[in-house]
Amino acid sequence: MKRIIGLAALIAMLATAVMVPRANAQCVSGTGTDILLDWDANGFSYEGPNPYTGFVSPAGNVLTNVLAVSLLCGPLSGLDPNDPAKEYTMVWNGLVSSGTVTAPFGSSGHKYTTVYTGGTFALYEGPVNARPWTSADVPLPGIAYPQYAEGTVILSGTIDSLVTLVTQSSLGSISGSFRGQYQITGGTYQDQFCGGLALTALMDGLWYADSPPAGYTGHNNGKFDAPDCTTPAGNSTWGHIKTLYR
């Protein structure tokens, strides 16, 4: 019986070793905080109810973003973003614009900074229909959104303090970036992140607002970093530590 238990334990260990996802080098920074997911050029933003013109978001507008994930890491690395039978898509909702602040810089540059707050996100595992869309063929938001927000929600949470920065450089070129914070608060994979604790993590990337697809305000290309689950050291007393063991 002992031999059988030993054999079973060995098989279980081997099976676990096989199932643990390989750490993708693209995911690993070496700092202990790694990338969680990434998308390439196939994120599309839009907002309303007022028109977004000249890179200026009117205060009170609500931003939505839809995207198809191209890289999954960490606890999600066992999922294949190119699975022929499934796609992994994300939507951001309810990000309220504080209004765009414009300012000059350099010899003739201008920057357009917008802060959005109070949003949510959901990452879906669903049937393949939105993943192939690019800037050239993504349908209007009303048609596209339902296909991005379809399937099982594997992660969800809040997005706050999303800052978009669009710049027109002194050479005349337009580019941009975004940076924000998110917290995981739900989804079927929630418990695999810091034991279900909703820790704040970084999201950032390219925010390209020039010549967007029809119906959108721009396309984006970015990533979510994984939450840092390490527990910071805290000061305590010997007396307090002793009480933990009494």
Partner: protein, 231 residues
């Protein structure tokens, strides 16, 4: 007046010959990584503010995260694909205490490598034993001459971006890119500190893409209509 007309036309053409930032560009590849600076005058005390000064070399390394179908048939998806931005020399600096704008001299290089060894490792404090060496030790599949490189970084929000014109002119897979699609744009968002993902010695986290023009479809025309173009 007649002499003025061509001059005005030429002036108008020059004025409107801005970079072709249009929606009709197509995706060549996406990338993620980190940037670093080879300082012309090393400060020796960590990353200075601003992080670039005149004559500094701006560099970036990282991974290609996805590729255009143009390259799908000629690259091995199981291999490691990396990029290296180098030889970008800061030739003009604007710094007002919050916003940094850097314009770079022409002829920087952006290169993409394919490597059966999955060995790319950022390490810390580049240049180091593994970076950029392990990002450039594969087969050079595409390389580009980079011009009009400009970087803008806003310290009030700890983020920025760079963009440039890239003329793809080298690499084992150069033939996979039609000649009319070899001039494109590299765009990247940058996120600085606080940012736990950035290895020591690197400056910003990068996330970007390379866009190229769409293929121009051939059209059937008569000799008469072609002759009319020159009359």
């Amino acid at each position: 007046m007649k002499r003025l007309q061509p001059l005005l036309l030429l002036a108008a053409l020059v004025l409107f010959a801005a970079p072709a930032h249009s929606a009709d560009r197509v995706f060549l590849c996406g990338f993620t990584g980190y940037d670093y600076v080879n300082e012309a005058n090393p400060s020796g005390g960590g990353i200075p503010t601003p992080f670039l000064a005149l004559n500094d070399e701006y560099c970036g390394v990282g991974f290609i995260t996805s590729m255009s179908p143009l390259l799908a048939g000629v690259t091995n998806p199981a291999d490691e694909h990396t990029f290296h931005l180098s030889e970008a020399m800061a030739s003009s600096i604007y710094w007002d205490g919050a916003v940094l704008e850097v314009i770079f001299a022409p002829h920087a290089r952006f290169r993409i490598y394919e490597d059966a060894n999955h060995n790319a490792d950022y390490g810390v404090d580049p240049v180091n034993a593994t970076s950029p060496a392990t990002f450039t030790d594969g087969t050079l599949i595409l390389g580009a001459d980079v011009t009009n490189l400009v970087l803008v970084y806003d310290y009030t929000v700890n983020q920025g971006n760079f963009d440039c014109m890239a003329d793809i002119d080298e690499g084992s897979q150069l033939g996979a890119i039609p000649a009319e699609q070899r001039s494109g744009w590299v765009l990247s968002g940058t996120a600085g500190r606080p940012n736990a993902t950035i290895p020591d010695g690197y400056v910003n986290q990068l996330d970007g893409e390379v866009q190229i023009p769409p293929a121009t479809a051939a059209e059937s025309r008569s000799w008469g209509s072609i002759k009319n173009l020159y009359r």
